[in-house]
């Protein structure tokens, strides 16, 4: 009887490294000026270079370099002033040249790191390298033949390679999420996983806890969603644990993840008969990054998600709220703009209240409408103004939600709606006392019963005051004054 996975994990430690391909958001291909688009008719986005015609020469895309450099800088990588393109030979019809232009022993970026949010902690995962390469076309297998569409061939990618430092399927999925968030934050990729713009291979091994050397690894290919990373890695860890815990040995192999079946299967060894024979591409000069390019990149780098996460927490924002706020740069920017318009800024009450209103009311309304924060009909400054009106007691929180709904819908300023609807909170003590006095006088029996100890009747009086004031009575003051008027 073999042991359960949690039992085996007491003795064995999983080790995972990821290789993530990210499509760079350029308008044209890496080495030729053919347009890049998703969903165009097959083979409509090619040129002689993509087709591997003799006599064609590659010239690298300036924007692709700049986008890759942004990622390099944001991951604190060491940037090579002079990196080199290499040819990786392989024989498939999806790259008619017979090789892929990639980078080999002189990649653009090395020794960076990615900060990954795992549960309640931030884990720093080292990055071995980030290199540039071109994508291949798309093969579709139809019975005895394969169909080839070369629209994707030559699209610029960066490959981000992590050190084998992730120790669970959850960490692997969080690494992907953090990288996904970062590349979108930096606007270097749309990273739409359904379009294959972010996809990964995972290297998985297990070793006895305390062991320094890595165990034999297997490579999982074909992973194109956060859920699949988690499932595929979890499945592979369990598979390897069952083998090693029984005294068996892991074979070095490449396995394909089949998301529909929820399992992986080894590729036949002949399919792996690859010998890439990398060599420097003689058609491309070294890729030079000069000081002024670096200066421009550094200057334009936005505040990154994790520093912002820390900043929000320091300002008193709850951890979960802070995490939601940094899930998207537009969301964080909206929040910052709202705080900037608030007299207290991010600090103390201001930031917390704005975060509450933004994450419940605004996101709720946007969700209902199927809208993104970028399409919010309510400006950050308007939300901030509404929050201030609730905070300073001009209106109650309950009325505030109604004002929000109307302002969100019509675009009218909160204060204008408040005045038109005459819903200003009554916080004037003599005025409120008079209203309360009248309410109590109108229900002498209930007042008597309450005085005799029937506590449940207090709510009756609060309700009556709210009814008499159209919900405008300041609730805190109403409670205080009612107690005073009723004698206890």
């Amino acid at each position: 009887m073999s042991r359960s996975v949690p039992q085996m994990l007491e003795d064995w430690e999983p080790v995972i490294g990821l290789e993530v391909h990210v499509q760079l958001a350029t308008r044209t291909k890496a080495f030729s000026p053919s347009a890049v688009h998703f969903g165009e008719p097959p083979n409509s986005l090619t040129d002689p270079l993509v087709l591997g015609m003799p006599g064609t020469l590659p010239v690298f895309n300036k924007l692709a370099l700049e986008l890759a450099l942004k990622l390099g800088v944001a991951t604190s990588s060491k940037i090579r002033a002079r990196s080199r393109f290499a040819r990786k030979q392989y024989f498939y019809p999806d790259l008619p040249k017979g090789y892929q232009i990639s980078q080999y022993d002189e990649p653009l970026c090395e020794h960076g790191h990615l900060d990954v949010l795992v549960g309640t902690t931030v884990k720093r995962v080292r990055l071995t390298r980030i290199h540039l390469e071109e994508d291949a076309g798309k093969n579709t297998h139809v019975g005895a033949v394969s169909h080839v569409d070369l629209n994707r061939a030559g699209v610029p990618l960066v490959e981000v390679v992590s050190e084998p430092e992730l120790s669970s399927a959850e960490e692997a999925a969080e690494f992907m999420r953090s990288l996904h968030r970062l590349v979108r934050w930096l606007e270097i990729s749309e990273a739409d996983m359904e379009k294959g713009q972010l996809r990964c291979d995972a290297n998985v091994s297990v070793r006895l806890r305390g062991e320094d050397r890595l165990g034999q690894r297997t490579e999982l290919k074909n992973i194109n969603s956060f859920r699949f990373v988690q499932n595929a890695v979890e499945h592979e860890i369990a598979r390897q644990l069952r083998i090693v815990d029984d005294g068996g040995r892991i074979e070095r192999e490449t396995r394909l993840w089949d998301a529909d079946a929820g399992q992986s299967a080894p590729m036949r060894s002949k399919e792996e008969a690859n010998d890439y024979r990398y060599f420097p591409d003689p058609d491309l000069p070294p890729l030079v990054v000069d000081g002024s390019t670096m200066g421009t990149i550094l200057h334009a780098l936005p505040e990154l998600p994790l520093p912002r996460f820390e900043r929000y927490q320091t300002a008193g924002i709850a951890r979960d709220d802070a995490r939601t706020l940094i899930s998207d740069r537009a969301m964080a920017d909206y929040f910052d703009a709202a705080c900037l318009a608030h007299p207290a800024g991010h600090a103390g009450h201001g930031g917390r209240t704005i975060a509450n209103w933004m994450l419940t009311e605004l996101l709720g309304a946007l969700n209902t409408d199927g809208k993104d924060i970028r399409e919010s009909p309510m400006a950050a400054e308007t939300l901030s103004a509404l929050v201030v009106l609730v905070e300073d007691g001009t209106i109650s929180g309950k009325i505030g939600k109604e004002i929000f709904a109307e302002s969100y819908k019509t675009g009218e300023a909160p204060l204008a709606i408040i005045d038109r609807r005459d819903v200003r909170q009554i916080s004037d003590e003599p005025a409120l006392w008079e209203i309360i006095d009248n309410v109590v006088k109108a229900s002498p029996k209930q007042a008597e019963a309450y005085a005799a100890g029937k506590d449940g009747l207090f709510g009756f009086f609060v309700g009556a005051v709210m009814k008499a004031t159209n919900s405008r009575a300041n609730p805190v003051m109403t409670t205080d004054l009612l107690k005073k008027r009723l004698g206890r």
């Binding site: 986005l45 297998h141 033949v145 394969s146 690859n274 000069p285 070294p286």
Partner: protein, 108 residues
């Protein structure tokens, strides 16, 4: 002792996706061997301290014929019309290129 073994020639043929008959393998073994021997002669030259030459022109300095850091602006040019692009394709199905079945995912 031949420079190349028959097995090595078979492996190279597989990588190049070439089918070679027995007599062709033998011929390749001797012909490729001669070429390899020539590189052996070159390899014997002491090249200590000389950087590997990867380009036909000097790449270390920008000069009259070489300009380092040449990049292309990200501006699309018209793609080839599909019929033009597929003119040399032996078989097509609509606008797709048809090739003998290949096995998915075998590449990186």
């Amino acid at each position: 002792m031949p420079t190349l073994t028959r097995k090595e020639v078979e492996e190279i043929a597989l990588l190049a996706r070439l089918h070679l008959e027995s007599d062709e393998l033998e011929r390749m073994q001797s012909e490729l061997g001669v070429i390899l021997d020539h590189f052996g002669t070159i390899a014997a030259i002491d090249a200590t301290g000389i950087p590997a030459m990867t380009h036909a022109v000097a790449m270390d300095h920008a000069g009259p014929f070489v300009s380092l850091g040449v990049l292309r602006p990200d501006e699309p040019q018209p793609s080839l019309p599909v019929d033009e692009a597929l003119r040399g394709t032996p078989k097509r199905d609509g606008d797709l290129i048809v090739v003998p079945a290949i096995i998915p995912g075998a590449k990186e």
